[in-house]
């Protein structure tokens, strides 16, 4: 469980199957902005587990933490990410 406002880092991963953690958001530092409750866990459902579900959060990332010096100033990207993608930072 994560709290709103908590800093998290997404896992650096490259699973062979389906995942909803986009490549550009792997291994990145962000913060929890919303707790979404339990949502259908697509990674497992795609593997045949039709009822898989997991806690999910909306996580926001400063553009500079995604794109470095090439980031647009004053911009951020937020995505809805499952708990198992995230580690406390």
């Amino acid at each position: 469980m994560f709290a709103i406002g908590e800093r998290v880092r997404t896992k650096l991963m490259n699973p062979p199957g389906h995942t909803r953690l986009p490549s550009y958001l792997r291994g990145r530092s962000g913060r929890i902005v919303w707790a979404l409750g339990t949502l259908p866990f697509s990674d497992r459902r795609a593997a045949g587990d039709a009822t898989a579900a997991q806690l999910a959060y909306t996580v926001c990332f400063d553009a500079a933490d995604l794109w470095g010096a090439d980031a647009e100033p004053r911009s951020q990207v937020c995505a809805d990410l499952f708990e198992s993608y995230l580690e406390a930072e």
Binding site: L21, P22, W34, L39, W67
Partner: protein, 198 residues
Amino acid sequence: MSHSHTHETSAGASNRVKTLVAELEGAGLLTESALDATIESFLTHASPANAARAIARAWADPAFRTRLLADGNAALAELGIDLAHWAPVKLRVVANEPQRHNLIVCTLCSCYPIALLGPSPSWYKSAAYRSRAVRDPRGVLAEFGTVLGDDVEIVVWDSTAEVRYLVLPQRPAGTETLDEAALAALVTRNGMIGTATV
């Protein structure tokens, strides 16, 4: 991506869907008429007029605006708008402010609040929009004719799970005398995706 490649990809997907439907029909799991009825019932009421009605109400009624931002599903239910989807989804409405602009994308596929905005425009599903919206949002917006001040922060919402996003644009100046129907007529689909300001 070249134009011809886009067509090949589209044709490939179309063939896969046809094959899948034929297999499901052969296995007795689906009939084409049931499939058509499902698609038709879903799309019959899917229109940007649904979301525009909610936006206009939010402009006219500050208490509704607060409820819409807190719980989009419940606020739409108040208006009798059906957020029916093939699976349950949460609706998150994000409000533009003078110093903050919101933009919606689905980088992984094409997630979109179809019930509220109708079928998505082809550009929304294009590889170019999906890849550029998250790393060059200001440039993408400029190509839509939407030029924001340098002091305006841009927040890009990547719809990666069972949440659908809708942008609440700022109410245009000079609309104080308009009723909700007239306000709703001002709201565009692109304004609710975030590629336009209203």
